[in-house]
Symmetry: C2
Subunit: 480 residues, 2 copies
């Protein structure tokens, strides 16, 4: 219910977020520390995200499978960096069926190890390659500071794991998936993310290369929205994933993994939301249009509902995700606020005058007030609304892109960098050293986000921190 007002974003962005997630019934806190319940409205949003991604994974030749939730503890010890990265975050099963287990089992924090073990069993020859498997599920990482969707002990995601004959193919796969993620984020979620390569210190535990898509939230903080990793032969050697090549020689595979999680829901909320609540991109919104019939008495009601019912059927038949709010116990004003808060892209109002005129009033969520309002004929309404949904979708992307670009700075020196990262991103030359990264973090709390694949200058420059030669520019920003 929408009785209590949210704090504004300007007042308290963090509290605006927390309250909105609860109030819009996207998620709730679970009775286990750090875990969340994803409620039906939030889960439908996630289902729409999964459908959009799954389609892209299939089109690029991937298949789904399911690997166990529990992994023997010893598996983690086979890849040195992997165990160092994950051991502080593990949830450990020590008892099963009333008895103490001989070997503790870990609730998976990620599945490279167990999938590596199975790939070693399945892959024999070059004819078995590539193996391109994805898994939808949840994983558990014992996080101390949690925030719904952004950082929870258990979260939902997909993790792709692929094995290839050559480095070239594995690298191609890593970038192919990074493109899939960016395409999804930009064209489905209206998130103008930036594709790039992570620094050594920000890599995934066990990866040789980690790439990411990074988005800018309205508070200017960065959110890593998905990652795609190249492992070289690290996991193949740890798990003996080998194949006989065309020359009959035994070789180690080259592997990748990549994941996108329910974090992206946080990105959608924080990129598009306003002080009234969620603003959901039409392509992913659980409800794309809400019909609100408006009447004062039974005579008006019967006329209005006749039209509202017909409109509902027409829009549904046209494949629009439509809902009618015919609640009797709340006012129209309450309904307007309620569905605005839930981020439904288009509101369809039908009152007695609309019945007379053969019109309806449309209000688009992304443009509040008069500006977003139009009065259109009932005839052809399905195509009018379809067009409007496309318009809202592209307009949301344009707005988010403009906001991002307005807040990316090119500081002239380190002093300016320190200032700009307090309320924006810096895009600066960086020499590649851990020391310079660490200094920025120490001085400003900003971290390196990624070295973008596109938009790098043609020539080398000087590191913004130490002044040494630097080949590439990187984004520095405070991040979630």
């Amino acid at each position: 219910m929408a009785e209590e007002k949210l704090p504004t974003r300007a007042e308290n962005f963090a509290e605006w977020y927390n309250q909105l997630v609860l109030k819009a019934e996207l998620a709730d806190y679970a009775p286990v520390r750090g875990c969340m319940v994803v409620r039906p409205y939030g889960w439908t949003l996630w289902e729409n995200i999964t459908a959009a991604l799954d389609k892209r994974f299939r089109e690029t030749g991937h298949v789904n499978a399911a690997f166990p939730t529990l992994i023997p503890m010893s598996f983690f010890e086979k890849e040195k960096e992997h165990v160092e990265g994950f051991s502080p975050e593990l949830a450990v099963v020590t008892h099963g069926g009333g008895e103490k287990l001989e070997e503790p089992l870990v609730v998976r924090p990620t599945s490279e190890t167990i999938i590596g073990y199975m790939y070693a069993k399945w892959i024999k020859s070059w004819r078995d390659l590539p193996v391109l498997i994805n898994q939808w599920g949840s994983v558990l990482r014992w996080e101390l500071r949690t925030k719904l969707f952004l950082r929870t002990a258990e979260f939902y995601w997909q993790e792709g794991h692929t094995a290839h004959a050559t480095k070239e193919e594995a690298m191609e796969e890593m970038y192919r998936i990074l493109d899939v993620y960016a395409d999804f984020a930009i064209n489905e979620a209206a998130l103008p993310v930036i594709k790039g390569r992570k620094s050594e210190s920000e890599k995934f535990a066990g990866a040789q290369i980690t790439t990411s898509i990074e988005g800018m939230m309205q508070d200017k903080r960065a959110l890593q929205s998905a990652t795609s990793h190249y492992f070289g032969q690290n996991f193949a050697k740890a798990f003996e994933i080998q194949f006989v090549d065309q020359n009959n020689t035994l070789q180690f595979c080259e592997t990748t993994s990549w994941g996108l999680s329910t974090r992206v829901i946080g990105a959608i909320i924080m990129t598009h939301g306003d002080d009234q609540g969620l603003v959901l991109p039409p392509r992913l919104a659980p409800i794309q249009a809400i019909i609100i019939p408006i009447y004062k008495n039974d005579a008006e009601k019967s006329k209005v509902m006749e039209v509202a019912d017909r409109v509902f059927k027409e829009l549904k038949a046209a494949g629009i995700r439509i809902k009618m709010d015919d609640r009797e116990n709340v006012s129209s004003g309450f309904k307007f606020n309620d569905w605005e808060m839930r981020g439904v892209p288009v509101r369809v109002e039908i009152g007695p005058k609309d019945v007379e005129k053969g019109s309806v009033a449309l209000a688009r969520r992304d443009k509040p007030g008069r500006e977003g309002k139009s009065f259109v004929p009932q005839t052809g309404l399905a195509s009018t609304i379809s067009l409007l949904l496309s318009e809202v979708q592209s307009s949301m992307l344009t707005k988010a892109t403009a906001n991002r670009d307005a807040n990316i700075h090119d500081p002239k020196d380190y002093e300016e960098l320190k200032k700009v990262v307090q309320d924006g991103w810096a895009f600066s030359y960086w020499c590649g050293s851990r020391e310079c990264e660490a200094k920025v973090k120490e001085d400003t709390k900003a971290t390196t986000r990624n070295m973008p694949l596109e938009g790098q200058p043609a020539e080398a420059g000087k590191c913004i921190v130490c002044g040494e030669k630097a080949e590439k520019k990187i984004y520095f920003a405070k991040a979630y």
Copy 2:
């Protein structure tokens, strides 16, 4: 690969099953005792099952959500029968983030408790009811004797959990879902299951009424293929799921739960499979038709492949799940066996003569040899194959139904019952006492399956075990 022959069903049904699951690459053993990996072919089958069920759940007003994998141990202790039933099977997390937990957490074996806890938080008024939520996921039960799909420590399923204002509505919900399960099983999986009520001793831990669908496998053993439970106010009282009714009085909700799991894949395999391998119902088969181009030399190849490619595109465009086997390193005979083993409903052979005649050869999986073979024109092939797939689907159901009915017996006395349950089911009057059930189990290893909702005699009779008055008949059978 299909080089090694399966044992026949007559030789060793259990081994036929185990080897077939591995060989058809449906699933594999995981390195954690009792767990399985569902491989892409098996997972695609499961995805088709989930899509068919999910559609039915939505049509009956249900929505999906996600609740945590970990549940505080204390939650299980709130419902007495529930904890007794599940405590021997629990996997327990005692450590998280490197520290011993204050309260152990259980990897969910089923989610009544945690969902009950959340419902108590969400439900306030009669206006919030009914709550109709389903969850797709996996659960863990520490099983000692495991068998892929049929009984594994971790398995995949859906669990629906609903809360209602009245007993009547909750009972209706239980039966509505039982109908959904039966409709799915019969019309999608070609499994002629029987809907009925379980005995007191076979109920779910904590339920007041458990209903099930039961299927007969080819070895005559029964497989409980899904269950739907009515809890009364048991869980509502344990978790304080209460609402204010229309008279402003605080009431406890009435709740239900219901589940169908990857076990149903076992039912599909054991109901329809033959000595050559799987026979998959077309509506669920990952691949509905496999094209096998046949040629001896490059000249033939170019002619045949031209037609094969065109046919592939046409069938794909018509929405048929089609695959082309254009492997060069194996013979056509090998391919025939391989796809038969994998249960693809229809094989499309295209050779040089077919190219000349404008025909293709079709072979249906459910009728081996000559009987299942036909030669049809390339023109209109998509609709020919669509019709054939429907024909295969209904013919599989007819065959399974005939097999089931031929093996259900009406023994005249207890001596005969003891005989018939060795290789079939008995459908007999039962007085309802635990003692009579226990005696049958002791003497024959057969258990009560369910009291069917349909097909009960109009009049009471005498219990087949003790001779006392019995209102209803029940199925006795050995079961998985």
